[in-house]
Structures are given as structure tokens and as C-alpha cells.
């Protein structure tokens, strides 16, 4: 038997390393089982996860494991009596989270040891590379990708074959293939999961792309905030070099290509491809004017092609199974599967990979189990700061590039942040504008000044200082920034504002006209009081209040001094009788 611990970043954050150490501590020298680790299986809501295998067969999946469970896990593995771990075994309902998915980009995540080349090879690893190098011309590879309909998974959804072909057509001895792993969209973490949990699949996908365009070097631009991803990829690159899968004369085919990692330094705009190139060249990451496009003149002024991690993670599957098998999934204009990072007020958060064409409802309710704490679904933010929110009425929208764009949101890189009735939509728009205004590189006026002005207006609205005409002014600014900004960051920055105005205009109006926040989130607009009927005079709230704003005698109704109240909400959390009224 094998005990395998899920040690991706989420798992570790939830305590997987402690579980690992605890199991090691109770193991003796000659155990009849082995202990290993794997990456992230994407069921973040159940971390830490420990799997018990017999060979390749999964016997038990143990969830929310703590260090205290180490003894029973080891005993179960020793004796084969799995009833010892019944209490921490995954429920049938939670198993559906994975059963309802179709995994291509994530096919190995959480199943193989990320830093074992043997594991990857056993899972058909590097067969696609061998097939491409030995039996296909670069043009045939591009044709297969064209048949598959694979489009850029980083957000723009541009056909991958088209970019590859353009780079192939550019004449130069030196071409670069770059992987954009600067996953900056707050709320998206699928790229991290792929690199951490299946780094060889990224290397293989990139090698096939490099062969197709004729690149001599591959560079992976990874966020510095992803130390584990960088570490695992470094190990995988070293293994691949040793096995002649990277470097000179790969697999004896005459094709040579090297690979290196460049750690980003924290700038959201570097997700834009020309800004990323500037950053690779050691400069401030500010976008370039296009044309020339990178396929003509990119990194070091040489033809370069840039794709996202998830895009590359699909490539070897497509070469192995054929473009048609990939294109058989999805809709007319969106083929294959897409990975989403499901977070926010959702019951079961994690990574979800499904064929295009499913509905948002399938993902949020079918897989994610709906909203936490029995609250009402309000909206889902798709595509992060560049995307928009989609309200309840549109939950049956298909996951498809065009259908999502029609709502005002975008597919984006796959961040799906679910919001419930307690999330203020004006506050949400402000949150994103705070982000984009901060991350605007400052090169073009529309983005630099436009986002700052929008942020100012939104700030005054949530503070209760909104004026008549602010909504119209915001709309006008949004259009100007969309039209005038140089790069994708600025062009899409208005999306969260436009969609929240479009679907939740009433919330804006309530803030501006009535100085009320319907979601009761904007602290400046709230008033706290105590319902004298419900209050039992237990004094708990008065003791908890950090501003000493609550007074009253024992067993007498208490009163809040609204002048002194800082609206922190501590009294609400402490009251056991529901006597605190927030308006």
C-alpha cells in the first residue's frame, strides 16, 4: 500500500506538511507501505487530503486530515483494515466534485508525484513529444492544433494555431517560446496548480510548441509568489535535461531547445504579453505599442510566441489523442475544456475543469454545491479585475467565449469568485478599481488618470458622499478608458464598473440617493442600534466593544452611542439574542 499526501500550496497552507511529519513520526523502519506526496487535486475545501493506494488503485481518499489522524492512518495502512479511517473518508457527495469534471489540463494533478519523471512517463508522458518530433512536421503540428480549436486560456481566447503559425512564418535563426505564468488575476490559481503538480506536462507542451514555431529557447515567466511552482519546475527541467528531453539533439531527432525560468517581481500588468517581454529584458514592465506583434519582433527583438500555462498543458493531450477528440468537446466557437478556480462564498471551492458549453449553474451549484451558510447567490465575478460580474438571472449562460462576453464579463483566465447577498456590488467595483489603479503602469494617460478618477468617484459613493450624476460620469469615463487605453489592463479595467452598473444600478442609487448600503457592507453607511425588546442585558456586547460605545446595566436593555460607534460589527458577532440591528 502507498500513502500519498497532497502537498500543493493549498494543501500545505491547510497543514499537509504537518500531517506528513506526523505520519513519518509514527512510522517504523520496516513498514509494509510507502509514503509519498503528490500535487494539488483541486479539492481545496477538503484539504489536507491523503490518498491510500494499492498500486495504481485508489482505495481511500481521506479528507480534512489533521496530524492527530496520523496513528489511525498508519494503522490502517499496516493492517489493511481501512475501517480505521472511516471517519475521515471522503463522502459520496464530495466525490461528485471530481466525478462531474472532465480533466485534460489537470489530468495528472494530484495523481502523480510532480517531481518524478518516471511517474510522468508512466502516465504516457513525453509520448506526444516523441510523436511530434519523429512523425510530424512542424506544419502538421500546427494543423493538428488548428483542428483542435485550442484557444489561449490566459484570457484573450486567441486561436493558438494562429499565433504559432505567425511565429513559424517569421524568418529568423533565433526565436523564443515564452510561457506566461504570471498569474496575477486575484482569485485564479490554476496555472500554479499545473506547474506545481505536473511540471513535466508544461515542459512537454512547450517543447511541442517550440518545435512547431522553430524556437531555440523557452522561457517560463513565473510569479515570484509561487515558490513551490518554481522549485518543482526547476527539478523537472533538470530531470528533462538529464533524460535528453531538453538541450541539444533532443531524443536524437536533431531538434535542439533549451529552457529556463524567470521569476517575475510582482506587477499585474506583466500578464500583458509586451509588458512581460519588457520585464524579461530587465526593464519596467510597461506595454509596447503593437504592431509589431511579438511574433514579428518580441523578446530581444526576435520573433517570440507567448502562451499561457493552461494552453500548453492541453497540447500533449491533443497530439496524443488528435485535434478532433479535443474539438468534439465544447461549443461552436469554444472547444475543449476550461479550468476554473472556484472561490468566494461557495460551499466547495477549488479547481474545476469542465467541457465548454456547460452552464455557470452547472459549475456553481452542480459542482460547487451552491452558496455557503444557506445564503442567496447574488453574482459571480468572472475574469477578475478585467472581467465583470454575472447576476443570478444569467446563471444559465453557457461557458463559451462569446456567450460570456455578451454578458459584459469575460472568460478570462478562469477566476470565478462567487458572491452572496452580503457582498456590496459598489464595494466590489471599488475593490477592482483600487487594484487596477494601483497596478496601472502609468504609460498611457487614459489608464493612469482614468482609473484614478473612477476610483475617486467609487470611493466617495461608498462613503456616502456620492452625487447625482456620478453613475453617468462613471459610464462616460468607462467608455473613454476602454477606447483610449494602450493595453488590455486599461481597456478592460472598466468592466467591473460597467457590469455592476448594468446589473445592480439600484445598489448604486441606494448609496447615492438614500446613503444606504443594501448589502450592509459599506461601514460608513451603517448605523448600529439595539432592539430593546430582544436585548437581555447580558453585557457581552459592551465588553466586546473596542470603542466602549455600548452602555447599560446588567439585565437592562443596552444602548449604542452612534457617535462613538466605529461600526466594526463585534457586537453583532457577540450577541446571542440577535438584538443588534444594522441598517
Amino acid at each position: 500500500m502507498r500513502i500519498v499526501i497532497g502537498e500543493g500550496s493549498c494543501g500545505i497552507a491547510a497543514g499537509a506538511s504537518k500531517v506528513h511529519k506526523a505520519i513519518e513520526a509514527v512510522m517504523t523502519a520496516n513498514e509494509p507501505f510507502s509514503l509519498g506526496s503528490t500535487g494539488c487535486i483541486g479539492m481545496c475545501f477538503l484539504e489536507p487530503i491523503v490518498d491510500l493506494y494499492d498500486g495504481k488503485t485508489l482505495l481511500r481518499r481521506l479528507v480534512k486530515v489533521t496530524a492527530d489522524d496520523a496513528v489511525s492512518i498508519v494503522e490502517a495502512a499496516r493492517s489493511g483494515d481501512l475501517s480505521k479511517v472511516d471517519s475521515i473518508t471522503i463522502s459520496a457527495e464530495d466525490e461528485e466534485f471530481l466525478n462531474r469534471q472532465t480533466r485534460i489540463a489537470l489530468r495528472h494533478c494530484g495523481l502523480i508525484d510532480p517531481v518524478s519523471l518516471d511517474d510522468y512517463r508512466e502516465a504516457d508522458g513525453y509520448q506526444a513529444l516523441e510523436k511530434a518530433l519523429k512523425t510530424m512536421t512542424p506544419e502538421q503540428v500546427i494543423e493538428e492544433i488548428k483542428i483542435s480549436g485550442l484557444a489561449g486560456r490566459g484570457g484573450a481566447g486567441f486561436p493558438t494555431w494562429f499565433k504559432w503559425n505567425a511565429a513559424r512564418q517569421s524568418v529568423s535563426d533565433t526565436k523564443y517560446l515564452i510561457c506566461n505564468a504570471d498569474e496575477g488575476d486575484p482569485g485564479a490559481f490554476m496555472d500554479r496548480a499545473v506547474i506545481e503538480s505536473d511540471p513535466h506536462s508544461l515542459i512537454e507542451g512547450m517543447l511541442i510548441g517550440a518545435y512547431a514555431i522553430g524556437a531555440c529557447e523557452m522561457i517560463v515567466y513565473v510569479r515570484a509568489e509561487y515558490p513551490l511552482a518554481i522549485a518543482n519546475l526547476e527539478i523537472a527541467i533538470a530531470q528533462a535535461k538529464k533524460a535528453n528531453l531538453l538541450g541539444e539533439n533532443i531524443l536524437g531527432t536533431g531538434f535542439s531547445c533549451d529552457m529556463r525560468i524567470k521569476a517575475g517581481a510582482g506587477a499585474f500588468v506583466c500578464g500583458e504579453e509586451t509588458a512581460l517581454i519588457e520585464s524579461l529584458e530587465g526593464k519596467r514592465g510597461m506595454p509596447r505599442l503593437k504592431p509589431p506583434v511579438p511574433a514579428q519582433k518580441g523578446y530581444m527583438d526576435e520573433p517570440s510566441n507567448i502562451n499561457n500555462v493552461e494552453t500548453f498543458a492541453n497540447v500533449s493531450w491533443i497530439i496524443n489523442n488528435g485535434g478532433e477528440a479535443f474539438a468534439a468537446m465544447g461549443t461552436e466557437n469554444s472547444k475543449g475544456t476550461k479550468v476554473f478556480a472556484l472561490t468566494g462564498k461557495i460551499r466547495k471551492g477549488g479547481l474545476v475543469e469542465i467541457p465548454m458549453g456547460k452552464t455557470l449553474r452547472d459549475v456553481i451549484y452542480g459542482i460547487g454545491g451552491g452558496i455557503r451558510d444557506n445564503k442567496e447567490f447574488k453574482a459571480v465575478q468572472m475574469g477578475g479585475p478585467s472581467g465583470g460580474c454575472i447576476p443570478k438571472e444569467l446563471l444559465d449562460t453557457f461557458i463559451d467565449y462569446k456567450a460570456l462576453a455578451a454578458t459584459g464579463a469575460i472568460m478570462g483566465s478562469g477566476g470565478m469568485v462567487v458572491m452572496d447577498e452580503s457582498t456590496c456590488m459598489v464595494g466590489m467595483a471599488k475593490f477592482f478599481l483600487d487594484f487596477t489603479a494601483l497596478e496601472s503602469c502609468g504609460k498611457c494617460v487614459h489608464c493612469r488618470i482614468g482609473t484614478a478618477r473612477m476610483q475617486e468617484i467609487l470611493t466617495r459613493i461608498v462613503k456616502g458622499e456620492g452625487k447625482d450624476g456620478d453613475i453617468e460620469l462613471l459610464e462616460e469615463l468607462c467608455e473613454a478608458v476602454k477606447d483610449g487605453a494602450l493595453c488590455g489592463l486599461g481597456q478592460t479595467a472598466p468592466n467591473p464598473v460597467l457590469t455592476t452598473i448594468r446589473y445592480f444600478r439600484n445598489e448604486y442609487e441606494a448609496h447615492i440617493k438614500e446613503k444606504k448600503c443594501p448589502a450592509k457592507e459599506c461601514v460608513d453607511l451603517l448605523t448600529y442600534s439595539i432592539d430593546a425588546e430582544a436585548c437581555r442585558g447580558c453585557t457581552l456586547c459592551a465588553k466586546k466593544c473596542p470603542a466602549h460605545a455600548i452602555s447599560g446595566a446588567v439585565k437592562q436593555a443596552h444602548v449604542i452611542n452612534s457617535e462613538a460607534c466605529i461600526r466594526c460589527g463585534q457586537c453583532v458577532n457577540s450577541c446571542r439574542f440577535g438584538a443588534i440591528i444594522v441598517e
Binding site: A13, A14, A267, G282, V417
Partner: protein, 165 residues
Amino acid sequence: MCQCNCHGPKSDLSLLDDVLKEYAGSSSNLITILQKAQNIYGYLPKDVMYCIADKVGITPADVMGVATFYSQFRLTPIGKYLIMSCQGTACHVNGSERVTAAISEYLGIGNGETTADGLFTLENVACLGCCSLAPVIMINGEAYGNLTPDSAVAVLKGIQEKEGK
């Protein structure tokens, strides 16, 4: 020797020798050099940036431009414990603002500041990628999830106790 005229504390520039030997050949390595320098010194002291400019063959303004563009780089020393407070979307909808405010109030420092005793630095960061544990803070690489204002302060108190403060 570096041509640094600044009056700040002098850093031991010899610690940079290996990094510069490997990377100073091309200005395209500037970000890598700054990252490694920050690993050595904990932040980017002024004389270190002058030295890098000199060895790479670019102006100090070029180095400063890059150092101030990327959020990873710090121009002031940090405390013993670096608190990274996640400002990602998932953390936001799960109440990160209140958690950050509680930390700020308890320690008496704002974003980017260090406590007078040099124990804590608070830094608001973009998504840490542990969205399902939101709201999350990370202290010296260890993540603390599902926080409330109270539990976040309790974590800090635990560290203070350990440090005998």
C-alpha cells in the same frame, strides 16, 4: 569600487560579488540581480543599488525605476516577521479588510510599515493563491487561513509571546 555618494549605513557589498559575477554581464538580468540582492540584505539598500548600476553599466535611475516598479522590492528593512496580508478577491469577499484593519490597529502600523521593536512588518499583497482558505495571511511563509479579526490578532500575540515581548 562603487561610486556611491549616499550617506546611509554602509552595506557589505562583497556579499554581492557572486551574484554580480554571474549576472552583471547583461542588463536583461537586472530583475534577477535585484531579487538576489534582496535575498541577501532583506531589502534593497541605496548603496547596493548604486553598486549594481555601476557593475551592470546602467544609471542608478534605471535601477531605481525597476526597483520601484515591482511590488516585490522593498527599499526599507523589514521586521523579523513579515506579515503578508492577502488582498485577493476571494479574501476580500470573505472579510480581509476587517482582518487587515485589526492587525493594523493591534500593531499600530500601516501597510509597508514596521513596528518600532522591529518584530513585524505588515505588507498588503496580491493574491497568495490559497483562495479556499480566505481570508488568509502569511507570516514568514506560513499561511494562516479562515481568519477573523480576533483569530488574526491571536496569531500575532502567539508570536509576541514566543519572542518574549
